[in-house]
């Protein structure tokens, strides 16, 4: 029996073997052919040699998540198959067990593995002579003597073989490969296309197009599509928002975002500064915000820990920013630097001493990353608060096709930002004027008549230090009012969403990057008779208390699903609404939830009567 347009493909190999580029070329070739993809990478905190793998899921319908099985596994090395069990400190047993029954494995024929070595009689093996094919490809260009220089191109041989087995349109792949090599590198592109062709032809000739049961076929394009990664979505949101200043200190997985911005800075006039540490990064950004430029910084947990102090200064001085992107990763301390986690919800809420308003938005997917980042800049200036966008490593590296982003109705709102003409009307300008709403009209250095002082000490309306009890009370109240105001003004539709039928007997509660797996998992649950809906909480601060109360009211069973140890959001919901969830499904092994884990977790609770479930399918 053959299946069309539903494939999970994985390529594994040592870091430095170029799995990213082939996986992304495959993905591109698929979306150009009207198919949908969801891809994500797992890698070590290492430059060269450690095992990494890239998962690509292709389907005829839009995908939001990955699954834990592999239909076609591509092994660039032996470790991808069998793991590193021969090491003194082994870490994994390879991926051969993950291949679905009826699936296949592409591997290097020169390893001369006996079929028994795989321990599977329900899959098809596709040994490919990587190196021989590469030499053949190089010969056509007279480069066979430079084999060592081009050795990495076995990745492209393997890609070609994959395309041959699923009988996909080679032209789309060669187009994608070609785009990766422009200018002086164009010749290298031709070489790669030839390598892919050799892999494709060999697989087709040796195994035929029908041995492997899954094939991919072009389908009609559903509108204009694009491929985007979380870091890009956030960065483009910043560009659209008019960000003019980005600071960072190198850290996984945040740095790609800053590098993306720097590579486009000339077009959009954005200063990108690599600071000496994250303390400097946040303070530079706050300085720029006070000076009137939309500013931002980007980091992950270890860097955000250093930013706590600066966050407080931004809060008490009512700086119009910065926007802070917190790409969570496994903590504490260095934790697992390249692995995902939703462990910093509570930290983002409480970082820095004292009490001050902050906004926290947690986008659930790459599209929300774009819109939420854009909104964050408007809020930073409208409410004069630091705004944290809480994403994670999984979102950062999630690579999927989306509809061409629509920017209709996106408007830059700079809040109460006075122009010189307005300032002169008020000869006694007070930067921290006590107002009904708590927001004081702001000026920026350089404006005549707008001189202000600002201090991390408690201050009077001019911004001069005070320790007066009554003024302290009024200033504290003024600042805290702003977050209440934001809660009233921002529409509910942005703050939380109930996906699925209101009447479903089971409500899944989650936030952030688990959204995709939950949505796909719900379909699978539905198909198996378990009807659910999903409350996605997007605004952590201001917390949509009444809305969450309303949406959870009457739900007979509430299951929290979180990529952390303690189900932090479930705790926050209880704190804010008094509502306790009934069950928890958590995962804290540094890997994101898959669609099938959602299915499994909820089934364990509903069918098997488990109270709390901890998953780890890594």
């Amino acid at each position: 029996m053959s299946i069309t347009n539903s494939l999970t493909w994985m390529i594994g190999g040592p870091q430095g073997s170029g799995i990213n580029s082939v996986a992304e070329n495959f993905a591109k070739a698929c979306i150009r052919g009207g198919l949908h993809v969801f891809a994500n990478i797992e890698y070590h905190s290492n430059i060269k040699g450690e095992h990494s793998y890239y998962r690509l899921r292709v389907d005829s319908r839009e995908l939001q998540s990955h699954v834990d099985w592999v239909d076609l596994l591509v092994a660039l090395d032996k470790e991808t198959l069998f793991g590193d069990l021969n090491k003194v400190h082994p870490t994994h047993a390879g991926h051969r067990h993950e291949v679905s029954p009826g699936g296949g494995i592409i591997y290097d024929a020169s390893l001369k593995l006996s079929p028994e070595a795989f321990g599977r009689d329900d899959i098809t093996l596709f040994p490919i002579p990587y190196m021989d094919l590469l030499i053949d490809a190089l010969k056509e260009f007279g480069k066979e003597r430079e084999l060592s220089k081009y050795q990495v191109m076995v990745n492209t041989i393997a890609l070609g073989a994959s395309l041959g087995l699923v009988n996909y349109d080679f032209g789309l792949a060669s187009e994608a490969i070609k785009e990766g090599f422009t200018g002086r590198k164009a010749a290298l592109g031709e070489l790669n296309i030839s390598a892919a062709q050799h892999g494709y032809d060999y697989a087709a000739k040796t195994f035929g197009h029908n041995v492997f049961p899954i094939r991919l076929q072009r389908q009609a394009l559903g509108g204009r599509r694009m491929m985007i990664r979380g870091v890009q979505a956030v960065a483009i949101g910043k560009v659209k928002a008019g960000c003019g200043f980005q600071t960072y200190y190198p850290i996984t997985p945040a740095t790609d975002e800053s590098e993306y911005l720097e590579s486009h800075q000339v077009t959009y006039n954005m200063i990108v500064v690599q600071a000496e540490d994250e303390i400097s990064a946040i303070n530079m950004a706050t300085g720029a915000a006070h000076a009137g430029l939309r500013s931002s910084t980007s980091t992950s947990g270890p860097g955000f820990s250093l930013m706590a102090e600066g966050l407080g200064w931004s809060g008490i001085t009512e700086a119009p920013g910065p926007v802070i992107i917190l790409w969570q990763r496994s903590g504490p301390a260095t934790g697992m630097p390249t692995r995902t986690e939703q462990g910093d919800l509570r930290f983002a809420l409480h970082a820095a001493h004292g009490e001050f308003p902050r906004m926290i938005i947690a986008p659930g997917d790459v599209v929300e990353c774009f819109y939420d980042t854009f909104d964050a800049f408007n809020y930073a200036e409208r409410y004069q608060v630091p705004v944290i966008v809480l994403a994670d490593k999984f979102l950062a590296s999630t690579y999927k096709d989306i509809q061409f982003l629509n920017t209709d109705g996106m408007k830059v709102d700079r809040g109460d930002f006075l122009q010189e003409a307005d300032i002169v009307k008020n000869p006694d300008y007070k930067r921290y004027q006590l107002t009904d709403l708590g927001i004081s009209p702001r000026t920026r250095p350089g404006q005549k008549g707008g001189i202000f002082w600002t201090t991390g000490d408690e201050h009077d309306e001019y911004g001069h230090i005070t320790e007066a009890a009554d003024l302290r009370v009024r200033m504290m109240t003024k600042r805290m009012k702003k977050i209440e105001l934001a809660g009233q003004v921002i529409p509910d539709s942005k703050k939380a969403t109930l996906h699925g039928p209101r009447s479903a007997p089971i409500t899944i509660v989650g936030w952030g990057s688990t959204k995709g797996a939950i949505l796909d998992g719900m379909e699978e649950l539905g198909a198996n008779g378990i009807e659910t809906n999903f409350l996605q909480i997007r605004y952590v601060s201001p917390f949509p208390k009444t809305l969450v109360q309303k949406l959870l009211y009457g739900s007979s069973r509430k299951i929290a699903i979180e990529n952390n140890y303690s189900a932090q959001m479930a705790g926050l919901i209880r704190e804010m609404t008094g509502i306790a969830v009934d069950n928890k499904i958590v995962k804290f092994d540094g890997r994101p939830f898959s669609q099938n884990e959602i299915y499994e977790g909820v089934s364990d609770i509903i069918k098997n009567g488990m109270n709390e479930v901890m998953l780890s399918h890594a």
Binding site: R224, R225, M226, M227, I236, V239, K240, A241, G242, G244, F245, Q265, V266, T267, N269, M270, I271, V273, A275, E276, D277, I279, S280, A281, N283, M284, A285, T286, G287, A288, A289, H290, A291, G292, L293, R294, S295, E309, G310, W313, F404, L405, T407, V412, R444, P445, G446, K448, G449, G450, I451, F452, W453, T454, T455, G456, D457, G463, H464, I465
Partner: protein, 309 residues
């Protein structure tokens, strides 16, 4: 014509009588007056401690920041709006203790601004603990025991870090301080001024009398002016590596003079491209006007989306 009162605020000053900070804030105001800089074109930044209160006494945009973080915040504001005259002030603990990393890295950037270090050897506001510039073996009034940590050399650190104007002055010699500050502000690049300062309440060693040399047999003042000895710290041609290295070496040698003779004046000065110059080379729009004055309402992101299509 701007007058001195245009640079002053009415904010109550709570520094101790005789504090060196008065000399510094007065000298800053007099320098700004002399240069006739418009107050709204100036931004003054400070760290935490007694000197942290400085911006509140100056009629200009004032930023009283965090302990040790004055330089990053000043850097962000200056880059956002390079047309501002930016002056940062801070104590020696602020700049060379908790903020030492920023001190070094700000020097590397050569931003066009001035950093004034209030250098009195003690943490005054927390009641007189040893600061990073207090030499080893000394015990000021409120310390329970002499310091067993070496003092750092701010001038040497500044030269090594890349500040392109490095000078020292004395808070109680307002005329010299004013001349030095003016040269620092007019310098295109990162200017560092180490201002030796008395703390009449807690530093009972480096007192006004000590600087005046009252304890020395010669009774001669400890401070002497570099330029009066024929010393010239200016690099004439920054493209000549040997000259740059020689001048830096000379500055380092002089910076370690301490005790009976302490040099003040300009140790090192070199004009090279600033951080802003380099950014403007990369982004010509920055040379036209500061990014704070750019229109951000209608950025077209379609080209970015096209790249991903």
């Amino acid at each position: 014509m701007l007058e001195l009162k245009n640079y002053r605020t009415q904010v109550h000053n709570d520094w101790c009588p005789g504090c060196g900070d008065f000399g510094i804030v007065n000298a800053i105001q007099m320098t700004l007056l002399e240069m006739q800089l418009e107050p709204h074109r100036i931004a003054v930044f400070s760290g935490i401690g007694c000197s942290g209160k400085t911006p509140h006494f100056i009629n200009a945009y004032g930023f009283h920041t965090l302990h040790g973080r004055v330089l990053p915040i000043a850097t962000g504001a200056k880059l956002a709006n390079p047309s501002l005259t930016v002056i940062a002030v801070g104590g020696d603990g602020d700049g060379l203790g908790i903020g030492a990393g920023h001190f070094v890295n700000t020097g590397r950037r050569n931003l066009d601004f001035t950093y004034v270090l209030h250098d009195n050897g003690v943490y005054g506001l927390t009641k007189g603990q040893a600061s990073p510039t207090l030499p080893k073996g000394l015990k000021t009034k409120s310390m329970p025991a002499p310091s067993i940590q070496e003092g750092v050399n701010p001038i040497a650190m500044a030269v090594a870090s890349g500040y392109t104007f490095v000078a020292r002055s004395y808070a109680l010699d307002v005329r010299h301080l004013k001349t030095t500050l003016r040269a620092a502000i007019e310098h295109r690049g990162s200017a560092f001024v180490d201002v030796l300062q008395t703390c009449p309440t807690y530093n009972d060693i480096n007192t006004k009398e000590w600087y005046a040399g009252d304890d020395l047999p010669s009774k001669a003042p400890r401070l002497y002016k570099l330029e009066e000895t024929g010393y010239d710290g200016r690099v004439a041609d920054p493209t000549i590596r040997d000259e740059v290295n020689t001048k830096k070496g000379n500055a380092l040698l002089r910076s370690f003079e301490w005790g009976e003779k302490i040099p003040i004046g300009v140790f090192f000065k070199m004009e090279v491209a600033t951080f802003e110059d380099q950014l403007a080379t990369r982004m010509p729009a920055l040379a036209e006007k500061p990014f704070v004055e750019h229109d951000i309402y209608n950025r077209d992101i379609v080209p970015l989306l096209d790249e991903l299509a």
